[in-house]
Amino acid sequence: MLHTVNKSPFDSQSLKTCLGLARSGSDILLIEDGVYGALVGTAHAAMLDQALKEVSIYALGPDLKARGLPEDRLIRGIKVVGFDGFVELASANDKVQSWL
């Protein structure tokens, strides 16, 4: 199952809610303002480090780039994908849940 999160974790509970409900082995894709959740060294980074032991986390490259977030500032283990990768994730998983 693919989960998408499009909100900043600094302002919204969406990422926290997603991580609380995503099963082990799930794919999670951070898009739009959700990509701020991929930043290293933030107040939420420990939550993501913990989550990465159970789930795969991706961040949408075009959204990172728009916001000036280079790959070397991301939490280790988070993979960057383009829209083609988004489509692949949506195909490879049996369904998609958007945590808005």
Binding site: S8, Y36, L39, G41, T42, D63
Partner: protein, 135 residues
């Protein structure tokens, strides 16, 4: 209308995910023509508006970050960034665009527009204002 009023534009939204940052900046630029006493505050995710290196080529959106560099020319030269908000987001001042203005009264010396302030300082600045806009 001879009286000058203190205007503060508070920015609390990240850029691109929503339009508030872009349309907020449009208000500030128009407002600059009215020669009021203007400042901006960046709180919470608003600090992301000033992040260096924004590049929208792959996302097809309009990159409006260069417009922040024009603020100094419009005499909008006090951009208060809440230090606590930066720290929660793992950012330092070096992550922000180097925005400057030229001080006419100091032989056009180039000075930084961004000032990091603590939450307590920002609280005091809020109290000094006459009109507060939120974006």
């Amino acid at each position: 209308m001879s009286q000058t009023r203190k205007f503060m534009y508070i920015n609390r939204h990240a850029p691109y995910g929503t339009v508030y940052a872009l349309e907020g900046l449009e208000v500030v630029l128009i407002g600059a023509a009215f020669e009021q006493d203007v400042c901006m505050a960046f709180i919470g995710d608003g600090v992301f508006q000033l992040k260096q290196g924004q590049d929208t080529t792959d996302s097809g959106m309009k990159n409006f970050s260069p417009a922040y560099r024009a603020l100094g020319d419009y005499e909008v030269n006090r951009l208060y960034v809440e230090r606590e908000s930066l720290e929660e987001r793992g950012l330092t001042e070096a992550d922000l665009m180097p925005l400057t203005w030229e001080d006419e009264e100091d032989d056009w010396a180039e000075k930084p527009s961004i000032q990091l302030v603590s939450r307590a300082q920002l609280s005091g600045l809020l109290e000094e204002q006459d009109v507060i806009f939120n974006f």
